[in-house]
Symmetry: C2
Subunit: 436 residues, 2 copies
């Protein structure tokens, strides 16, 4: 590669980072793409891995495979640890990388709002580890329940709490309910389905805030029909791994809680010394640059760009994709001596699925629900998934689930070197020495 | 279930255990199947998971899904810890299980022959964890090599040693070579393919001892054509994670070694106080029973049944399947007051693949090699794989690899809570606390 060309360093191979890199494919720059994973993850389908509908490999695609044709690019597997803005150097786990232009697209993580016991005992749902851990854990609860004679303990094993009524929470609760009622119940014929509860806790008084009211109500109604108990005004105070405590004082015995009630920018940006919003996102100009460092662009979940009404753009894939394109364009302009353009979001609408034949969709002013919205959801997700093979395999898995009421990936995969209970819960458990 | 029926406890849901259970589906017994995994693993294709050709979920099938129709059966997810023969009780991680008849089909594990440094630094290839760890590690070596400036260090990163010239070693070495030369080299275009070495170490003077001489030579020749360095008479003395030391004193710098040079019965059988052979397998009568405990049957990799020539049957799936059927039949006979039959192995032949269009096959006196043997290998493995969906997905993956020279699963999946280097090597590393 021509080392005299300006060096653009892009951190993060999510929707935003990949789009930036792609838009720079014909630019007179050399690019280094940095990610701590060697794959791009299709996050919108993560909940399907957690609920045994898809395998982890179906929704991940190697970065090098995606970008194989792009000759002005190098990929570097490394974790960002900081930035020296004065020296224009990115700090990583495998050494420093000097840059002329930097694009931070490092994404979001689960926000436990500093509650350590929540962090330890509830499951986040932001990466493949999370999803596989949830799958393992849920299936393991059924294996325990089928041999549990104490009815109280059995009900706690079979109570699955999802906190947060946004798209992730709604999709996850709907998918749990279908996994259990359509599939697992056939595997565990000794269990009484009435012992099973799926509870969706939402702090406000409606689900899916980004949807029009009619669709929000439709979503709640559909969840009820799928036997998900939807609780509004339910704020979680604590979770010790066995009992969910609400702010009201109510206690729900449950061995499983998925925390989908908060996201924030990944922790590493806290160390950058840049102004952040309440979710830890870096405040950027309307041109997606950092005010004091115009050579640094921030996009996607990690960027706090104001929509004009005082609020920041939502943390969704479409915003990241469009910001990635603009960051690339602005960089090319600045290298040619031109001024940057401002970000204007073209909202293509929004979609959420609640289960088979059920979804809600808003496209501009049009609203859809039921089967048609669900078919639209399927089509959009297949089209945006990267890689023809992944599309094919996901389609086959979905068709399989749909026609046979099956979830084929119900495998409990724990690392053989950890004792059972430890590998299912969150991280620190794996510090236990292997039993032989 | 009718608790007055005799209770048959089968430990292990591998080929042998599943066959036993299946053959007892109409017998007047109640069965408890115990396994520490909730899935049946199709071990013959494990090396394809290690070499990024298949995903882990493609070759595993939930036990409950396989046995859903069988009403005289309960499945129990638990790890066997011992047997109290006097009290006729199986000891497990989740409590005791009394039995009237016991079938031990707990399988094999990698045999490091007590060499602790080998155990720690080399990869075994006996379960899904092993396979995913190898895949992660190999891909990570390429990520490191592409940014390594020291040529010596780079060569060590790109040297892949496989120890053991049996089917696993041969298949693994062939698959590594194809993964690298046909796929990875396109991802890492900065690397010189001449720096890459795949070395197959075999202690004796031929590969694949169970094959006739002509096929053994054909296999070695095919490996050479695929740029695998085959070394005969090469006995491994030690491996410290960086350098393989041979008994001859020769040292091979290599950051990766897969140990396919030994299998033994799983460690738990050492605690049973039963006579064992050199591989830890339990010595059984010709009727597959334990001499002093005729109510205990031992089958598959964990059984040492004499072939008549003083040797035990090989640790292969076909032996386990046929022994499973006989154990079931003998149990039914004994419950009816009849005498047991002796095990007679009907050898259906043997197959090993070396890569695309290349395999060796022996069927009775017939010998095949090249494309035809390879097609036969494909057909046999698809037929024996359990689950229509798995068959379909494996076929699609194979077709994809074959026509596009691709290995789509080249994903490095490490648990986000462990530092990189730790999670790729074998187990004890994960004891390191998470870095945030």
């Amino acid at each position: 590669m021509d080392t005299s060309l300006p060096h653009v360093v892009v951190v993060g191979a999510g929707f935003g980072g990949l789009r930036t890199v792609h838009c720079l494919r014909n630019a007179a720059v050399r690019i280094t793409l940095v990610d701590r994973r060697n794959y791009h993850l299709f996050q919108p389908l993560l909940y399907q891995v957690a609920t045994a509908g898809l395998g982890p490999t179906d929704i991940a695609q190697p970065v090098r495979a995606i970008l194989r044709g792009q000759r002005n690019l190098e990929f570097r597997l490394a974790e960002m640890t900081g930035v020296d803005f004065a020296a224009k150097t990115l700090k990583t786990s495998t050494g420093d990388i000097p840059y002329d232009r930097l694009v931070l697209a490092v994404g979001g993580e689960t926000n436990f709002f500093g509650n350590a016991s929540l962090d330890r005992n509830a499951f986040g749902l932001k990466d493949l580890d999370d999803a596989v851990r949830i799958r393992n854990h849920v299936l393991y609860m059924f294996e325990r329940a089928v041999h549990e004679n104490d009815p109280e303990a059995r009900r706690a094993l079979l109570t699955f709490v999802v906190a947060g009524g946004g798209p992730t929470g709604v999709e996850c609760a709907g998918a749990f309910s279908e996994l259990i009622r359509l599939v697992l119940i056939k595997d565990y014929f000794g269990l009484n389905i009435k012992d099973v509860r799926v509870i969706l806790l939402e702090g406000s008084n409606s689900l899916l805030p980004m949807f029009p009211e009619k669709l929000r109500e439709a979503a709640a109604g559909t969840l009820w029909k799928k036997f998900v108990e939807v609780r509004f005004g339910a704020l979680v105070a604590d979770y010790d791994g066995h009992t969910v405590t609400l702010k009201s004082g109510e206690r729900i015995p449950a061995e499983t809680m998925v925390w989908a009630a908060g996201v924030r920018a990944v922790g590493v940006v806290d160390r950058l010394g840049l102004p952040q919003d309440r979710q830890g996102r870096v405040k950027v100009t309307a041109t997606l640059q950092v005010a004091d460092h115009p050579e640094v662009y921030v996009i996607g979940d990690v960027a706090s760009a104001e929509m004009g009404n005082g609020q920041a753009y939502p943390m969704v894939a479409q915003v990241a994709l469009q910001q990635g394109r603009l960051a690339a364009a602005n960089m090319v302009r600045s290298l040619r001596g031109g001024g940057p353009a401002e970000f204007r979001y073209r909202d293509p609408g929004t979609l959420a699925t609640i289960g088979r034949n059920a979804a809600v969709a808003r496209l501009g002013r049009l609203q859809f629900r039921g089967w048609f919205a669900w078919a639209m959801w399927l089509a959009v997700h297949i089209v945006f998934l990267i890689g023809f093979r992944n599309r094919l395999l996901v389609l086959i898995n979905w068709a399989w689930d749909y026609f046979f009421y099956d979830r084929p990936i119900r495998l409990i995969m724990h690392d053989g070197n950890c004792p059972w209970e430890r590998c299912l819960r969150v991280s620190p458990g794996c510090a236990t020495p292997p039993v032989k």
